[in-house]
């Protein structure tokens, strides 16, 4: 084997190993949504707890956190305490509201879920046939989208929102208006 071949062989092996070492930090679930920085698809759907239907475009002018969930989803249970806490914290902010989209679910099961784990108090749109979820490219639960005052999706979060998410991820975007 000539010297050049040796270097190529060992170099290739090192490069592949290095790539794996760097790649270990990747989270395969974290898939960027092509809908980020696109206008959010509007929806009007019956509210889980009755009252007027939930309409996204009626919330123009505010930042909207759209949280997709279902009573069948185990990770949503883990996420729920933070949603309750966040809803309490942002209740008095004029520029930020939250809505939930309860998809592939029955109203009874969903109400039961909220009764059991605490009701954060914001409205939930019912989406039993996953029409909204499909429009938004949701493929699992929970998934959350942050929509800006112009109705553009600015961020997608796959999996449960973590404690401190609002300060760490949402606020910089809302204050800076910069792309993340």
């Amino acid at each position: 084997m000539s010297g050049a071949w040796k270097i190529i062989l060992l170099g290739a092996v090192m490069a592949i190993l290095g790539l794996f070492a760097l790649g270990l930090d990747n989270d395969p679930r974290n898939i960027p949504s092509p809908l980020v920085n696109r206008p959010a698809s509007d929806f009007t759907a019956p509210a889980l707890h009755g009252g007027p239907p939930v309409q996204l475009s009626a919330l123009r002018g505010k930042w909207v956190l759209v949280n997709f969930w279902g009573s069948w989803c185990v990770s949503c249970v883990a996420e729920h305490p933070y949603l309750v806490e966040l809803a309490k914290k942002v209740k008095n902010r004029p520029d930020f509201v939250m809505i939930g989209v309860d998809f592939r679910d029955t109203p009874e099961a969903a109400r039961d879920f909220l009764a059991r784990h605490g009701n954060p108090g914001y409205p939930h749109a019912m989406d039993p046939e996953q029409k909204i979820a499909i429009d938004w490219g949701v493929y699992g639960a929970p998934e959350s989208y942050l929509v800006d005052p112009n109705g553009t999706i600015r961020m997608k979060h796959t999996g449960p929102l973590f404690p401190g998410w609002f300060e760490a991820r949402a606020l910089p975007l809302m204050e800076g208006g910069k792309k993340p």
């Binding site: 084997m1 092996v13 794996f20 790649g23 395969p28």
Partner: protein, 651 residues
Amino acid sequence: MWIEIAHFATLLALFLSLVLFGAPLAGMHWKNMAWVRVARQAAFWICGLLTLASAGLIVSFMTHDFSVKYVAEHASLKLPTFYLATAMWGGHEGSLLLWAWFLSLFVAIAAWRHWETHPVSMPWVLSILGSLQVGFLLLVVFLSSPFVRLLDPPLDGRDLNPLLQDPGMVFHPPFLYMGYVGFAIPYAFAMAALITAQGDGEWILATRRWTLFSWIMLTIGIVFGAYWAYYELGWGGYWAWDPVENASFMPWLTGVAFLHSVMVQERRRMFKTWNLFLIITTFALSLLGTFLVRSGVLSSVHAFATDPGRGVYILMFMTVLLLFSFGLLTTKSDQLQGATQLESPWSREFSFLVNNLFLVAGACTVLLGTLYPLAVETLSSAKVSVGAPYYNKVFIPIMLGMLLLMGIGPCIPWRAASLQYLRREFLVPAIIGLAGLPAAWMVGITHPFGLAALALILFVGTTHLRDLTGNVRQRMNRESISPQVALMRLVGRNQRRYGGMLVHFGILVMVAGFVGSGLFQEERNLLLSPGDSLRLGDWNLTLESMGQTARRNWQAEEAVIRAERPGETVLLKPQKRVYNEHSQPTTEAAIHTTWREDLYVVLGEPVKAGVWAFRVYRNPLIAWIWFGSGIVTIGVLLAMLQGRRARRLAT
């Protein structure tokens, strides 16, 4: 109780693996063979202990011991007995134990069979295999133990993933692992030959059956996986170029290259360094497959257990192994000089050389396609996926080149062929192959790859058949016997050659299946209510009724579809199953298989009351893929019958 026995047996096996690794080194250092004999006994004990450990885990499943975390997560009371027994490899932890058990079994067989014949290299072989065994058992014991007890055992388990409750999935992993692990033996012999400077080729003869065995296990494993994907995942295809599929395919390709190039070393004493490189690469790629599945660096349908701790460990393990192997190869390879030079490009050794270049290039394109998304994601955090279009453009042409060589290699002589010989052997097949082009065009093949594939199938098939009939006729005339007897004697005298030709023939059948299903698949997506019908090919399909059905641990919505064509009526019953413990429904495609085509019906979601979505496929020639792989298996088994040829090496 059983799980504690299993746990203890595994710990003991880990300890003995350290002995297996260290004792031969001590024996060589102090020049005392007693140490090496200790290592050999350790190999047998490890095998026995890991057999006990695996049995203990299986018994825990059979007895529904849900206080064992692994059992609680992968079984339930309702799980049928067959899947209960095989749920051992339904998850990450048990799969690794299975891996370790196969390794211990193969090491024990190697220590038993090669002890007398390989006194010089045996200490190194045992030590290298011992280090692998240590590596895997450390992972099993410390990072992914299947023996963990739950303090608060549930009454019922979480059940096995419904997609795995399928015969195809039951057999896919063990065969694949046997293939992966089996390459460890030729790898260890190759490394030992390199260390002891006996790279002259004896190791190749010694491990020929191991290599064939590993390769055919890998082949069967891959085909089982493809077949499972075909009828269980319900998307009408069988291969998606998913990273983990690729990971099993790469060692397969380099394994094919190795199987061919060792013949050149055996006959002509060439390619010595190259063969060492190929076997190291093949085994390294086998480990890479494990790494990709188990660490979660790549997103894939298979990446179920993401655990960075395990990922870091497997990466460290691979780093040590790769740097040791390739480092040794680069430092020691200079002492290996080819005894002969290529004499002519019109020779078998040259055709094998090109064959090897094509196969390695093919493996590289698959590797690039697999790693590219990882590289992009790591370096720029964007997500890309490399799919069928890339592989179709890059990989298929390389494999068409391979197909051409497959017709030439076995029928061209070693050293150099004369022009007359080439004309006599290949003119008729080439004409037949070219004559296939207009015929293919008339059948409706317009895609250049399809045309090329068909011409090449005819060319290769003709060269092989002519070779066979020529030799049969010669033997008939010489010994005045009937063609059947002549064929039997011919094959009996040289199982390697005719086993190999049978493998080639099986590959041709598979290629026909790839072309037919790849180019002529017809797909319909449509909504049907009971009473509606559609036409597909010459089939007339009618949705007769919709109903419910249930078994022990699932319920399903089932459609009854009557498929008719002149002279044939069949009932197809596609289902959408919901397994009790899992909300995710699984599709059970209904498939009607004939040699000409598969009719493949998938039941989708109900769209509104009384209307269901259906997907209906016509997959021409797809059964040829499964049938062809059966021929390949028989061919390899035939080739394995023939033992070593020490005589040849002596000359």
